[in-house]
């Protein structure tokens, strides 16, 4: 069996792998069967290279806890709220992932998103009156320029990104206040979101469309996975066992059905029923999927991983390291711009009360809790999905329990510290091995 799996190294004696080898290698690389695959997974978890599983386990545990405390927690109504709350953490987390992979950090992403959102709303309002899509693009362009500027300072002057973006944090706070005060439509530092931008949150995709969307997503995922599997086997390339692919497809199908059922249940009252998925949810998924594909399928994505692990190796491979760093910061800005849009839409307005400092901490928290390393080179955009959900669940659950904002912050901090500690421990294990 292995001979067809791995013609490259046919003459390798097909001995069983040690736990250590299994632990270091992605399970799909070594496994010849579904059983092997799960054995490899088990070994990885025992060695601390666990991937998403502990996060999922933690998420389930927290959810069970809140459900026991407040039986309203798992109500469809609250779950829809929770997913919408999670979108902003997910987007911020995905944004921060780019710079974290480069072994940098962007502390300005929060207030940057504030500036981006103000820009969008003001371009959309009088006197500019751009259409909604142009206004959004305008805000995103501003975000990328901010990222390019900070990235250039880091790349060309070799300044620590911590300091550069700390400066950005303060500077952009000022820029945001200034933007609010020069605009005559912004009464008391508040500017309202109108039209499509507000409707991203307020409007829902109809239940029928939800089902169509779910079917399209599942069918697309299944088709791509199966075709990819078939073509790789045909070409004799390293391939995960078919069973694993099938399990993944089944998993995605179950998740899609459950989510659709939740979103299609009534979130309003018996009299005025509200059903369907707020547009922010598919927007977030699309951003995360595109960002993930970018990291996996393009040269620039791969170079971000390379530079994050070893700038010297990347430089010797002929990669323009400075450009990669600048692009990384621009992508963080771009995706943080979507987070700003999400915030403005959810609030129905942008206000100078926007807490960009807290936002950026949640951005880092969502990325790191999801499993992205603070030390560069390790992690995925999709990790932010889980990380963002964890942050949202903690907030939502504590909110239901009527805990004060102060305690909410403390609990989130504890969750973050645990995640960072796990990251550091995994790293230490990896280096002492």
């Amino acid at each position: 069996m292995s001979a067809t799996d791995k013609p490259a190294i046919q003459d390798t004696p097909d001995t069983a792998l040690s736990d250590e080898e299994l632990a270091l290698v992605a399970p799909e690389v070594m496994a010849h069967s579904v059983g092997d695959y799960f054995r490899a997974w088990g070994a990885r978890i025992r060695n601390g290279e666990s991937g998403a599983l502990p996060v999922i386990a933690g998420l389930v545990a927290i959810c069970v806890f809140f459900e026991l405390e407040r039986s309203t927690f798992l109500h469809a109504n609250n779950l829809v709220n929770l997913f919408v709350q999670a979108t902003i953490f997910i987007l911020f987390g995905a944004a921060e992932t780019f710079v974290l992979l480069l072994s940098e950090i962007d502390l300005s992403a929060g207030f940057g998103a504030g500036v981006g959102a103000f820009t969008m709303l003001e371009l959309n309002a009088a006197p500019v009156n751009f259409p909604w899509w142009l206004a959004i693009i305008g805000g995103l362009v501003v975000m990328m320029l901010i990222g390019a500027l900070q990235g250039a300072l880091v790349a060309f002057l070799g300044l620590p990104s911590f300091i550069v973006t700390l400066g950005g944090y303060l500077g952009l706070t000022g820029v945001m206040l200034e933007l609010a005060s020069i605009d005559k439509t912004a009464v008391g530092g508040v500017i309202n979101a109108n039209g499509t931008i507000a409707n991203l949150y307020n409007s829902h995709i109809s239940p029928t469309a939800d089902w169509i969307l779910a079917v399209v997503c599942v069918a697309g995922f299944a088709a791509v996975s199966l075709l990819r599997h078939r073509s790789r086997v045909a070409q004799g390339l390293t391939t995960a066992p078919l069973g694993v692919t099938v399990i993944a497809i089944v998993g995605v199908t179950v998740i899609a059905i459950v989510l659709t059922l939740i979103f299609n249940s009534n979130q309003g009252t018996a009299i005025t029923a509200i059903r369907g998925m707020p547009y922010l949810v598919p927007m977030t998924l699309v951003v995360v999927v595109i960002a993930g594909l970018f990291m996996n399928k393009t040269r620039m994505g791969r170079y971000i991983y390379a530079v994050g692990n070893s700038p010297e190796a990347a430089r010797r491979a002929g990669i323009n390291v400075k450009l990669v760093i600048i692009v990384g910061f621009m992508l963080t800005g771009l995706v943080a711009g979507f987070a700003g849009l999400d915030y403005a839409s959810t609030q129905g307005s942008m206000s100078t009360d926007f807490n960009g400092g807290q936002s950026v901490l949640f951005a880092v928290a969502a990325a790191v809790i999801g499993g992205t390393s603070l030390f560069g080179g390790r992690g995925k955009i999709s990790n932010a999905l889980l990380g963002g959900l964890v942050v949202a669940v903690v907030f939502n659950g504590l909110g239901l329990m009527g805990v004060s904002a102060a305690v909410q912050d403390i609990v989130t901090a504890v969750v973050l510290i645990i995640a960072v500690t796990l990251d550091a421990l995994v790293r230490r294990r990896a280096t002492t091995r």
Binding site: I9, V25, R232, Q235, L237, R302, A306, R316, G318
Partner: protein
């Protein structure tokens, strides 16, 4: 000097850093398809020579001939374009990327605008097979999970894929165990057997005598002697390295 077609020839190459004469009038020939070992004590100028040939430190005086024609190595890119690849001790691999990703880093082929993983994996597998690298379990393993010898193999395979004509290896067997060393030495022989010129810089005379076709000795910035490995034995090599000359009795 045997004047059969040399791949690389240095003629009176000098390099000076302030008062320090790093290279003094070095004359050295590297033939294709042969392993040339460059040996010498610490500070003898081995590293300076590598850096000059790989374009990092252009020489002050003297000529560098590549396939008989004079060339100017003004930077690493110049050397790379000629087909000179240097594998430094740190190997310059990314631990978080797998073998295929490392071998193609910076030169990834694209198909319809996205990375062409299939062709990369096939080419990488073929290259490793040609080099008789058999100990890696899967070419999709991250480099972090490889042993020292396997990492060295990946670095060499990377050089081969860039169509290198001269591969310079800096202390390739330092920090390796016995089995790993044997594996790397076999790899070096395979590489030379494919017509690639290999220059190995090493302290380890046991390894040098196992693998080298030719030996060149550096002493205080000079290349004091070069010739077929059979002209040397351990004792004479040590004497050349430590005194820069040869007493008549031992010769």
């Amino acid at each position: 000097m045997t004047d059969t077609a040399q791949l690389l020839s240095l003629r009176g190459v000098s390099k000076r850093f302030g008062p320090v004469q790093a290279l003094a009038d070095v004359t050295l020939d590297i033939p294709p398809g042969k392993v040339t070992a460059l040996i010498g004590d610490n500070g003898a100028g081995k590293s300076s020579l590598i850096k000059t040939v790989s374009g990092l430190w252009p020489q002050d005086n003297g000529q560098i001939l590549w396939e008989g024609k004079e060339v100017h190595l003004g930077g690493p890119r110049d050397a790379e374009r000629l087909g000179i690849t240097t594998i430094y001790q740190d190997l310059a691999l990314c631990d978080n990327l797998d073998i295929v990703q490392n071998m193609f880093l910076g030169h990834e082929p694209l198909r319809r605008g996205v990375l062409d993983e299939a062709s990369m994996e096939k080419t990488a597998a073929k290259t490793l097979q040609d080099l008789s690298v058999k100990t890696v379990k899967s070419i999709r393993q991250p480099v972090a999970s490889l042993s020292g010898g396997q990492r060295q193999s990946v670095a060499v395979a990377k050089a081969v894929m860039s169509n290198a004509k001269l591969v310079i290896m800096d202390e390739p067997t330092a920090a390796l165990g016995v089995a790993q060393t044997g594996m790397v030495l076999d790899l070096i022989k395979t590489l030379a057997g494919r017509g690639v010129a290999v220059m190995v810089v090493s302290h380890n005379l046991v390894d040098v005598f196992q693998v080298a076709d030719r030996i060149a000795v550096m002493y205080l910035g000079h290349c004091v002697v070069q010739g077929p490995a059979t002209d040397f034995d351990r004792q004479s090599a040590v004497e050349w390295m430590t005194t820069g000359s040869m007493s008549k009795a031992a010769a």
